[in-house]
Amino acid sequence: MTDIHVSSSSSPVVGGGGRHLLEVKDLYVEFHTRDGVARVINGVSYHLDPGETLAVLGESGSGKSVTAQAIMGILDMPPAKIPGGQILYKGENLLAMPEEKRRQVRGKEISMIFQDALSALNPVFPVGWQISETLRTRAGMSKKEALNRAVELMDLVKIPAARARVKDYPHQFSGGMRQRVMIAMALAMDPKVLIADEPTTALDVTVQAQIMDLLGDLRRDLNMGLILITHDLGVVADVADRIAVMYAGRIVEHADVRNVYKHPAHPYTEGLLDSIPRLDSKGTELATIKGLPPNLMRPPTGCAFHPRCKYAKSVCTTETPLSLDLGHGRTSACHFAKEMLDGTLR
């Protein structure tokens, strides 16, 4: 299994290289709106190595997408502001780069695919034109070369009859095929990191599995690092190596995927796992996590999860839990993480 490193301060050692492909260090993002300041990311750290899949899990509003957009540098600033943290790509801090240099990283080194491919693709240009746009404008290919490469990419993501469909428009494709077009477009410049922001949420269940398989295969064949953002625990089990669970702009648990499923070390993770429908508990009521995610303009005191936590004690309402190192690169931001693992927490 991959070497796991979480706590952001100590220097990581991976495969002797001494640094990760991509590393987010103690990142803070806030949105300045008319109603006040929403602190949406509060000290997030994670990292990614080549050929590895990191699943970032959380409800809407937990900050998982915002972190990804901060990595890509496509946050609208203002209203967004990054008051602290680093995003290191191959050791270089993306946040300190001049915009022009940063732009060169986008799409070429780090690429991103989005949830709803229908609105994420430009409706008035053919898919081949959109896939080959970076090749023409950034790789200096001729129109014909770029279009041929687009056909190859469409073959790579298993779009049938690619050559015949390269001049079709996005609306002429089915949902699953459109997402494949998105993936082909993101792969055009051979990126080292692919960020997939809820890539299967808008799709049928059968198609979801196909897209996840495709992403897994591509990650392996092209030796990319894959960040898979999702709110669906079921999706990540087969594909991910590690899971980072986010809540209210923090990573509450970070661990090897099998450990998380076997023994969650944070009550929120446990709640997520319990709310997956299971065949063997058919007929019983589905477990849910009570309450709603916190308002980030006015976050709760102490642990942000305490109003919804079934184990909450008085310390949880006053003190923000630090990320606790549980060994084997596993962390949990819960005052009672050890008790959770022991099964002694009541």
């Binding site: 890509m72 496509i74 732009r103 060169q104 990283v105 986008r106 799409g107 070429k108 690429s111 991103m112 989005f114 709803d116 609105s119 994420a120 693709l121 430009n122 409706p123 008035v124 240009f125 746009e133 970076t134 404008t137 950034r138 428009y169 609306h171 998105m182 477009m185 410049m189």
Partner: protein, 308 residues
């Protein structure tokens, strides 16, 4: 596509007959006394009246007169004005002038309205945006009966930049100020439409995609945003050009330009029924064709539109 065109063509024929029929009927029942109008102040004696009535076919029943008019029209004969001039000649003189005026107005609209709209759309909430919004509001609020004489007074009498009136055979220079006055209302509308369209598309998901592909800002706006924003703007400009072709009664009147609007208002004043109906019939055709072209252009600009 072919079926769509056939259907549109049949619709156009029906609309043409319906509108000409309505106009003809309105002129028939409200048209006053054309013979007295022809004679002006002078009294008309009974013999002359009987003779003229017969000559213009005024004694025929309404449907017969409409039928005669339509059959002549379909043969390309628009008939004569009450004073005996072929209507075809009147239109052949007036239309080129009106078309020049319309083209000036549209070019002015594109140059200022669309450009300002794009800038305002990109910089929403900026000083430029707010200033142009207020200015367009003022322009939209002023009717052309005020705007045209005001512009004439300021630019031709006070500052003497442009010629005051155009006269019989106007040059492009003579038509410049009237064209701008005519276009100013379109400028305001085009600017607001462009601004809304651009700022909406700037927030679209595909713009985020283009940025995440590492496209430079000018390409994101110049290609991805503008190409999408163009769809409603081109539609608006097409319809606008169609209605500008119909001439501008007020503007042409104020600047004394012998275009279609001027002829139409003159025909209305002199109760020249054949000329009114002749002009309106051709206007209907121009308007229908302009709308058809706009609809076809729309399908070219937006691949999601398919005409079945």
């Amino acid at each position: 596509m072919f079926r769509y065109l056939v259907r549109r063509f049949l619709q156009m024929i029906m609309v043409f007959f319906a509108t000409t029929f309505i106009v003809y009927a309105l002129m028939y029942w409200t048209g006053g006394d054309p013979i007295q109008a022809l004679a002006g102040e002078k009294p008309v004696n009974d013999v002359l009246r009987a003779q003229l009535t017969k000559e213009f076919g005024l004694d025929q029943p309404f449907l017969v007169r409409y039928w005669n008019y339509i059959t002549n029209l379909l043969h390309g004969d628009l008939g004569n004005t009450l004073v005996g001039r072929p209507i075809k000649d009147v239109l052949a003189d007036a239309w080129p002038i009106t078309i020049q005026l319309a083209v000036i107005a549209i070019v002015f609209t594109i140059l200022f309205g669309v450009t300002a709209g794009v800038i305002a759309g990109i910089r929403r909430g900026s000083i430029f945006d707010n200033t142009t919004l207020v200015l367009t509001l003022i322009v939209i609020g002023i009717p052309s009966v005020v705007l045209a004489p005001l512009a004439q007074y300021l630019f031709t009498i006070q500052w003497k930049i442009f010629p005051t009136t155009a006269g019989g055979n106007p040059t492009l220079w003579d038509l410049l100020l009237p064209g701008i006055v005519l276009g100013s209302l379109s400028v305001a509308t085009a600017m607001r439409l462009t601004r809304a369209s651009v700022s909406e598309n700037l927030r679209a998901d595909f713009v985020r995609t283009a940025r995440s592909k590492g496209m430079p800002g000018r390409r994101v706006i110049g290609i991805h945003v503008l190409r999408n924003s163009l769809i409603p703007i081109v539609t608006f400009l097409g319809v606008e050009l169609g209605s500008l072709m119909a001439g501008a009664i007020v503007t042409e009147g104020v600047f004394n330009i012998p275009g279609v609007g001027y002829q139409l208002s003159k025909a209305l004043r002199t109760e020249d029924t054949p000329l009114i109906i002749g002009i309106v019939s051709v206007l209907v055709i121009i308007f229908l064709v302009a709308n058809l072209i706009v609809d076809l252009l729309y399908a070219v600009l937006d691949p999601r539109i398919r005409y079945e």
